[in-house]
């Protein structure tokens, strides 16, 4: 029986660029911005990094393929660099690679960096792109909101939720995240919105309206990881360690076999249980201090609360409206503003979430600082509700 990743690797330093419509910043500029912050935070020299993992999601509109864009942008000293792509889980995948390298003993210090330059495309939303030669022949030409809006129809049918009630809960989620993002200088969107605004905004993909959608931004984030022993040797105190890293990939069953009902994310449920097991968490509601979940759309966040076992099945609408996941609720969600306010530079998002965990654990989260967080859960979801990649990381104090 494998022992899992818990407490084998700690975070030595992290960096995160300002997210936003960074018209004047190239991908290399964004990478450098995150990297310089992370390097200074780690207190090491660039040459001490032995291996690197590079996350970038959409090759055609970003930096191109392979690990070279990272190696060249940062002038890394010809170390092994691996490029990873796994849809919206890409950032977390880069982190996973670096963490596993350290845990295996293959290297002492590893870098994970994710970047995405979305705003060179020339229009709003994620870039329209090919889904592969065969898939393009018969898949609907669905946009990301079009894919995730379907969760709402499945959820309503399963739980008999009224359209207006669900929309109100969705609006609450966005209002909450905007309120959090307004306190975050690195967020793209830093202004509060009202429930009326969210409810009355035009449809993007029914029932998802404009304010149910996350922003679309440029950004980069990075983590430098090592073993607890090395971190201590380098003089780092109050360590933050990796408690769990899990991934679940759909195998076509939800979209092709008559079982799944369209109201939840099968992969999230599987990855969450595995992550809780790996981290030794028996009662997530009591033990998890904060979550950063994949709020690409408000409905995704709502359903995810149930899939992470933080709400009872069918009760997320009630819990959301009750404020359970607000900044002052029982388990704050998106305390940094989430994808909602940061936007979703695909390669960077997973590590942007961990960056917020890291700031919270070190008490560096400014106006949005939570009181004594112990365990943070991060969740990414790439693809569509009926077939997707789910990644979950749990980060906590090393004790």
């Amino acid at each position: 029986m494998a022992s899992g990743i818990k407490d084998k690797v700690v975070i030595l330093g992290m960096g995160c660029s300002k997210f936003g419509e960074r018209w004047d910043a190239s991908p290399a500029d964004l990478m450098s911005e995150a990297f310089e912050e992370g390097l200074a935070d780690a207190g090491i020299d660039k040459n001490q990094i032995e291996m690197a993992w590079f996350g970038a999601g959409i090759d055609a509109y970003n930096v191109g393929s392979s690990a070279m864009p990272l190696s060249i942008a940062l002038r890394l000293p010809n170390i092994p660099v691996t490029k990873v792509e796994n849809m919206c889980a890409t950032g977390t995948e880069a982190f996973r690679g670096a963490v596993y390298a350290v845990a295996s003993g293959a290297c002492d210090i590893a870098l994970a960096l994710g970047v995405e330059k979305l705003k060179d495309v020339g229009y709003g939303g994620l870039p329209q792109r090919t889904r592969g030669v065969e898939n393009d022949m018969y898949w609907p030409n669905l946009s990301a909101p079009g894919a995730f809006a379907q969760l709402a129809s499945g959820y309503r049918a399963k739980h008999g939720v009224d359209k207006a009630d669900l929309k109100r809960a969705m609006a609450h989620i966005s209002v909450k995240s905007h309120a959090n993002g307004a306190k975050n200088p690195k967020a793209h969107l830093q202004r509060e919105i009202t429930e009326e605004q969210a409810i009355n905004a035009p449809y993007i993909a029914e029932p998802i309206g404009l304010f149910d959608c996350c922003g679309v931004s440029d950004g980069a984030a990075c983590a430098i990881v090592c073993t607890p022993e090395i971190a201590r040797a380098l003089g780092k105190a109050d360590l933050v360690s990796v408690k769990a890293l899990q991934l679940a990939a759909s195998n076509g069953e939800e979209g092709g076999f008559s079982k799944w009902d369209g109201s939840y994310l099968k992969t999230t449920r599987i990855a969450a249980q595995r992550a809780y097991d790996e981290a030794g968490i028996r009662n997530p509601r009591a033990e998890v201090s904060m979550t950063e979940v994949h709020d690409c759309f408000s409905i995704t966040e709502l359903v995810t609360m149930e899939d992470l076992q933080l709400s009872d099945e069918g009760q997320a609408v009630r819990d959301v409206l009750n404020g359970d996941f607000d900044a002052n609720g029982r388990i704050p969600c998106q305390i940094d503003g989430g994808l909602k306010c940061f936007g979703h530079p695909i390669g960077a998002s997973g590590m942007r979430m961990i960056y917020e965990n890291y700031l919270q654990f070190y008490g560096r989260a400014g106006d949005r600082q939570l009181k004594d967080p112990r365990l943070a859960l991060n969740h990414n979801l790439g693809g569509f509700p009926h077939q997707n990649i789910c990644s979950i990381s749990i980060i906590g104090r090393y004790e």
């Binding site: 229009y123 909101p145 449809y203 076509g252 009902d261």
Partner: protein, 482 residues
């Protein structure tokens, strides 16, 4: 006895109000106002000659065993491909197998009647049935008379020796190079000559010549004709021709100019399907086709006619309608304006022909798989069975699903993605008996979509690759009650 054994019809659901055409154009040509009565059928953006032919063929196959079809002829002057046999696409969408004769017949408004005569005369259907599909989607100039008077549609008739509903009595053709209109290889729109000349020198001379030869040959008197089909966009001409021949006025078939429009090559066959719906045993039916001369075919309804009605038929197809008063949308769907489609519409739509061929059973036939080990139905058919309890390798037999109804599980109306008629409706469809697929929907009326709605699937255009002059087809779901 040989003759017609089955028939079917398809008319696009959308009916453009002719007043909308006049509203947009009478500033230029005031005479259009006088033609602006009623409505005309209009292809949705994802319909063309091929997709309408498939629909008409399916309607015909509702009373005809697909296994009996040994030939398929597709007649049209608006075939989407000039070099790629369109009838093969249709035959594969109809799942008619790989052992049949196929042919495209084109280049004249009497293409369909000429094909029908050839089928009836050649004895091609000595065994089994030959299927004729006539389908037309003509474009016309903005603000033209043609735009007012034409429509889009398709019809099917099967020819064979068993279960004959209209016995073949004989045919005649009069040939002359009468150019009432033409369309050259480099143009997409017709050029027409004067209406009055076409009537006097064309219809009034050509049709009686062919018909009288046929009546003489078969020994039938004009007054005995119970149904006379003459397709034309000239409202009064059929009656005038009938009178000249001696056919009773009440035998003249309505051209439905005011509630359908003249559907080109398809029109004689489409009108014939209406006649077959109404005809009583023993009725004599005279079908003509006009274009560089005249085809004339004489048929007699048999006792079997009442029993072999297709599922939809002409009256069903005509009744299934939705009004549209948006002339601009009609222009856009017919590529008559240079519409801003946004950058999302610019995505390269290359068709990878080798991959398309590999996937043709799915793409054209909507054929899924049924697992021999566990019985699970799935679409697409893949290497391993999708049932997690089974996972059988190469365990699936072909399982055609184009006739299987489904229900919507999840859906949305997407306004972000590119679509020719936004919002783009799509969702997860669960099929009766198993199998589910995330697929495009088409022709969804606003406010009618929900989880649980019953859908049927239809062969439609999925994408145009305008850069390379190609179009891709796939199946889409439509609410079954519409």
């Amino acid at each position: 006895m040989s003759g017609i054994t089955a028939y079917g019809a398809y008319i696009p659901r959308t009916r453009l109000l002719k007043s909308a055409i006049a509203d947009a154009n009478d500033w230029f040509d005031a005479s259009l106002r006088g033609l602006a009565k009623g409505e005309r059928s209009v292809c949705n953006w994802d319909e063309d000659t091929i997709t309408m032919a498939v629909e008409a063929g399916q309607d015909c196959l509702s009373v005809l065993d697909a296994g009996s079809v040994n030939a398929l002829y597709l007649a049209s002057t608006t075939l989407p491909f000039l070099d790629r046999q369109n009838s093969v696409v249709v035959s594969q969408a109809l799942n008619l197998g790989d052992h049949l004769r196929t042919m495209d017949v084109a280049a004249s408004q009497r293409a369909a009647t000429s094909a029908l005569i050839t089928m009836l005369e050649s004895g091609a259907a000595a065994k089994g049935n030959a299927l004729l599909l006539a389908s037309e989607h003509r474009r016309s100039k903005c603000g033209s008379r043609a735009e007012m008077l034409w429509g889009d549609g398709a019809a099917a008739v099967a020819v064979g020796n068993e279960d004959v509903i209209a016995e073949y009595l004989g045919s005649e053709t009069y040939v002359t190079d009468f150019v009432d209109h033409y369309r050259g290889e480099d143009s997409t729109l017709d050029y027409e000559w004067e209406e009055r000349w076409i009537r006097d020198e064309g219809f009034m001379k050509s049709v009686p010549l062919a018909v009288n030869r046929l009546l003489e040959k078969t020994g039938v008197k004009a007054s005995e004709i119970a149904h006379f089909v003459l397709a034309t966009d000239q409202g009064r001409t059929p009656a005038a021709v009938a009178k000249a021949i001696g056919i009773a006025a009440d035998a003249v078939a309505d051209n439905h100019i005011g509630n359908l429009g003249v559907t080109g090559v398809a029109h004689p066959i489409l009108l014939l399907t209406e006649v077959l719906e109404k005809a009583r045993a023993g009725d004599l039916i005279l079908l003509t086709g006009f274009g560089q001369g005249t085809d004339a075919v004489l048929l007699r309804a048999t006792d079997a006619i009442a029993a072999r009605r297709p599922k939809t038929g002409f009256s069903g197809a005509l009744a299934r309608r939705r009004e549209d008063a948006n002339y601009n949308r009609f222009l856009s769907f017919n590529n008559l304006v240079d519409r801003e489609v946004g950058k999302r519409g610019e995505l390269d739509k290359q068709s990878y022909l080798a991959a398309m061929y590999r996937r043709k059973d799915l793409l054209t036939g909507f054929i899924g798989g049924k697992c021999r080990s566990c019985g699970t139905v799935q679409i697409p058919k893949e290497k391993y069975c999708v049932n997690p309890e089974c996972g059988g390798l190469d365990s699936q037999d072909d399982h055609p699903m184009s006739a299987v109804k489904g229900r919507v599980m999840t859906w949305t109306a997407d306004r972000l993605t590119f679509d020719w008629n936004p919002p783009a409706y799509f969702g997860l469809v669960e099929f009766e008996g198993g199998g589910r697929l995330m697929m495009d929907f088409t022709e969804v009326e606003p406010g009618t979509m929900d989880t649980g709605v019953e859908v049927s699937v239809h062969f439609r255009i999925r994408q145009f690759d305008n850069q390379r002059g190609f179009r891709k087809y796939f199946w889409k779901a439509t609410p079954a009650q519409q």
